[in-house]
């Protein structure tokens, strides 16, 4: 009846029990809060059943913040353990638990914090920047979010019920095969990633069609904001790469459930095939994470330099170049697996080639600042931090791409320092920049600049302290994922430095959380009185009120250049005409949430081998999908008169604060 689930699954060691209790208390507090403030109806009508891309974007960000808390806690635990566990001491985590912690850390950060940031930003910004009222497939977009949230929730459940995988964030076989990992951990990992991955695939299809088919009149591809270009390249990568992940995870799951021999050691299985397939997906994945953040910087630097982006065409070609070459570099993740020097050298050279367009982008951003008027607002601070940290990580990437050098640093802490420089220096700082930049657009008020200033210093110094010593530790022979080492290695000194850096990073994160709540508390003081354009922006999202009305644009704009809003403000283009028309918008639906819920049950059932529940929830998914996809197209109508009234009401309420 319960498959292989027993009461034992609810028993954990002291540390984990505390985490579970914290989670449960948090959930209960949330329920109580929602009940006390009578918010259930709003939650259902305005958020759970919404198909509005702006609301969906905000929900993505909320999940990102929650999962970031989890992933960051994992990181602190890893570094604390490594500082303490020397010689006779085993630290505070046993080896098996430690391995679950770092596996969860990587999985959470890549699939939920990283992908969530990307999809959150795409949802919030793309339709506004291309002058569209909605995305191409509002329901599919919502469904993509609910599958993502379902994966996130399953990963939180894996903390409380049973054990998670100890095989790392990519679960290489043979370690992840039934032979060496017979428990539920790897199955949890498979279904968490599989469900979230399918959400990403359909979300990617949605944005690909949105960008290609829904740009406003006059916005040719070469007049699109670079953020939209970078997202276009990211979704091309999503659509081409994620199916590989889906198939590979399915095969690993078949190995573990019905005993097939895709990646087993016996029966003719080939686990090296898994490694090739997973990285054929995995390398495009890291570009999916970074390209939109490059796009974010391409918006922020021109805005705060009061100058057009330098070399627009060059930037576009650089993006396309990166996109296509990213499919022929995957082997650099396993140069040490014994391939011939012809193979290794080819992939090494291809990897180096990708560094060229990345460098070009950095120079173009710098020269956007050249002879501009640079304002060091919060977003620009994060750009500065990005320049300092990401460049070094990129350089060490070049070192890693030379196979004989890689032989000496692969899987050591040198590698960890490199890729964290890319994801923290690039993806995370890009996300912070985007968050501080676009926050006023969706709320109508600014974030507290002073608290962000302190957070920036914590992140910049903390990052340097927590990750630069890792390069040297790698040279000293310290490999990744170690839960213990001997005192004679001499590594503890540097691990202490690294932990201090982690504490500083933690302070930075705390300041950011506090800053968010403080800003909301002080919102009247920080109100944006500029009618939706607080930063003197250049692109279309700043031409509509903050927060944007549900239909985004009362009148669909026509553009005739890049930076259309800048042109309007500086007389290069005529201002938008105020002609109001009837607007049809999609209606709310609960189907996305239900399919997400059934997917959660399905993933849980498959993990614990509760076959009856798996079958029922799978059938429920199919039935709900069929009902939704065969139902008639329905829209709600906002008449032109209502639009006109909403527009004038917004302007009046904007002026009334202050």
């Amino acid at each position: 009846m319960f498959g292989r689930l027993t009461l034992n699954a609810f028993l954990h060691d002291f540390v984990q029990t505390q985490a579970v209790v914290g989670m449960v208390v948090g959930a209960i507090a949330l329920v109580i809060g929602l009940t006390y403030f009578k918010l259930w109806k709003t939650l259902w009508n305005d958020w759970i059943t919404t198909v509005d891309h702006k609301r969906i974007g905000i929900m993505y960000i909320v999940v990102v913040v929650i999962m970031f808390l989890k992933g960051f806690t994992d990181a602190m635990m890893i570094r604390l353990q490594q500082m303490l566990s020397v010689g006779d001491s085993q630290g505070f985590l046993d080896a098996a638990h430690f391995q679950e912690v770092f596996s969860a850390h990587g999985t959470t950060m890549i699939f939920f914090v990283g992908m969530g940031s990307v999809f959150g930003l795409m949802n919030l910004i793309i339709p506004l920047q291309i002058g569209a009222r909605d995305v191409a497939f509002p329901f599919i977009n919502a469904l993509g979010f609910w599958l993502f949230a379902s994966g996130a929730l399953l990963s939180l459940i894996s903390l409380a019920v049973g054990r998670f995988s100890g095989a790392g964030w990519l679960a290489y076989p043979p370690l992840s095969s039934l032979q060496y990992s017979p428990g539920e951990g790897v199955d949890y990992w498979i279904w968490i990633v599989q469900i979230a991955g399918i959400g990403s695939t359909i979300g990617g299809i949605n944005f690909l069609v949105t960008i290609l088919k829904m740009r406003c009149p006059g916005m040719t591809l070469m007049r699109m904001p670079i953020f939209v270009w970078s997202c276009l390249c990211a979704v091309i990568l999503i659509v081409l790469a994620f199916p590989i992940l889906t198939a590979t995870l399915a095969m690993l799951s078949l190995d573990r459930t019905i005993g097939t021999h895709f990646f087993t050691v016996d029966g003719g299985g080939n686990y090296m095939m898994y490694i090739n397939l997973i990285w054929a997906w995995g390398h495009p994945e890291v570009y999916i994470l970074i390209l939109p953040m490059f796009g974010v910087f391409s918006e922020i630097v021109p805005t705060f330099s009061e100058k057009r982006l330098f070399g627009y065409a060059s930037m576009v070609w650089a993006l396309l170049f990166i996109t296509f070459i990213s499919f022929v570099v995957w082997l650099h993740h396993f140069f040490t697996m014994g391939a011939s020097p012809y193979v290794n050298a080819f992939f090494g050279i291809a990897t180096m080639v990708i560094a060229i367009p990345t460098g070009v982008k950095i120079f173009n951003w710098l020269f956007t600042k050249f002879r501009g008027r640079v304002h060091f607002t919060s977003p620009m601070l994060w750009f500065f931090a990005f320049l300092l940290n990401f460049t070094v990580a990129g350089m060490t990437g070049m070192l890693l791409s030379v196979p004989p050098v890689d032989f000496q640093v692969h899987n050591s802490l040198f590698l960890i320092a490199h890729f964290h420089g890319m994801v923290i220096g690039g993806v995370l700082f890009g996300f912070f920049a985007a968050f501080t930049y676009w926050f006023p657009k969706f709320t109508g008020f600014y974030l507290d600049e002073r608290l962000n200033w302190y957070a920036f210093w914590c992140w910049l110094s903390g990052f340097l302290l927590a990750f630069m010593p890792l390069y040297m530790l790698g040279f000293m022979g310290a490999t990744r994922r170690l839960d213990h080492y001997e005192a004679e290695t001499g590594w503890q000194f540097l691990f202490i430095v690294v932990f201090i850096g982690a504490i500083i990073l933690f302070c930075g994160a705390i300041i950011q959380f506090a800053g968010l709540f403080w800003s909301i508390y002080n919102r009247k003081k920080n109100w944006d009185h500029t009618n939706g354009d607080p930063w003197n922006g250049r692109t279309l999202e700043w031409s509509i009120p903050s927060p944007p009305p549900i239909y985004n644009f009362a009148t669909i704009p026509t553009v005739n250049s890049r930076d259309p809003l800048w042109e309007i403000k500086h007389g290069g283009s005529p201002p938008a005409k105020k002609e109001y028309e009837d607007i049809y918008l999609p209606i709310n639906t609960s189907m996305g949430c239900f399919i997400g819920l059934f997917s959660l049950f399905f993933g849980f059932a498959m993990t614990w081998q509760m076959w009856w529940l798996a079958i029922i929830s799978f059938v429920a998914i199919i039935v709900t999908l069929i009902i939704r996809l065969s139902s008639a197209d329905k829209h709600k109508l906002i008449t032109a008169e209502v639009v006109k009234k909403m527009e004038s009401d917004q302007i009046r309420s904007q002026k009334s604060y202050g």
Partner: protein, 291 residues
């Protein structure tokens, strides 16, 4: 809301100081830890070649990185909004010569590094035997959960979690595993290679200085993986021969049954054996094959 102005000069100075402190950590740690930094102070020719390649590529990269840092600081200072002396040229959006430089120079650099990569990847192919006036010896390595078994087929001995090698002798390691994937790495001697079940990989290394060097597994293989470290003792040929002779006299025998016991998941102290079965390594590699 009025955006508070950031103090740009103090910010740049503070960032500069931070970077300087971090840079200082490099020579400091090198002085403090010296030879413990196996990759930077290798004791074998392969490691030595790999380190030199690292330095060359690093130096080339600095040619790109240093200008980026300099420009970052310079432009942040000169073109800050409240600098009356900064030229403001909002129409400067393209400059073909500039683009040619920063597409072109990195391209040239990548070509140089690519040629170097091609040549060195072939030269430093782990499968390539090392040329030396001394005769090559073979050590068969089997990764187990969670220990390393070293089989000396010619000497007919074996050791667990302990490797002894003669100095200046090319060693051909033949690697396999009866465990999940592991990675065999002795940083002081040279780069690593994966040790995988059902397959054989080859790694050629040579130790040019006597000493004790740490080796470990660089790929996670289960709970006890952090305990998979071993000492590599490099001695003179005479001392090595003495050790071989002593080991050949031990009563601890290694054949397939004893091996199967070793292969059970456990962490063990170093041991030595006489090799009862010269075909043992092949048997281990073929364990999962169907005949």
């Amino acid at each position: 809301m009025k955006i508070p102005k950031k103090p740009v000069l103090p910010m740049l100075i503070a960032a500069g100081i931070l970077i300087f402190i971090i840079l200082l950590m490099q020579p400091f740690t090198i002085l403090k830890f010296g030879d413990k930094i196996g990759v930077l102070f290798p004791k074998g020719m392969i490691g030595y070649e790999q380190r030199n390649l690292l330095f060359i590529v690093q130096a080339l990269m600095l040619l790109v990185i240093i200008p980026v840092y300099v420009l970052t600081f310079m432009f942040s200072w000169i073109y800050r909004a409240d600098n009356p002396r900064g030229i403001y040229d909002p129409d400067l959006v393209d400059n073909v010569p500039a683009e040619i430089i920063w597409w072109g120079l990195p391209f040239v650099m990548v070509v140089i590094v690519s040629v170097l990569t091609w040549i060195k990847t072939h030269e430093l192919d782990p499968y390539k035997s090392i040329e030396s006036k001394n005769k090559e010896m073979t050590v068969q390595v089997v990764a187990l959960q969670w220990k390393w078994l070293f089989i000396y087929p010619t000497e007919k001995i074996a050791s667990l979690n302990y490797l002894q090698l003669p100095v200046n002798t090319p060693v051909r390691f033949e690697l396999s595993a009866d465990s999940p994937m592991n990675s065999f790495w002795i940083p002081s001697l040279g780069g690593q290679i994966y040790a995988m079940p059902g397959m054989t990989t080859i790694l050629n290394l040579i130790a040019n200085e006597p000493g004790n060097y740490r080796g470990s597994s660089a790929h996670i293989s289960g709970e006890g993986f952090a305990r998979m470290y071993f000492n590599t003792k490099v001695t003179s040929k005479e001392d090595f021969d003495t050790w071989v002779a002593t080991t050949q006299g031990t009563t601890n025998k290694l054949e397939i049954k004893a091996f199967n016991n070793l292969a059970l998941p456990s962490v063990m102290d170093p041991q030595i054996f006489t090799l009862e079965d010269p075909e043992l390594f092949d048997r281990i590699v073929n364990k999962y094959m169907h005949h």
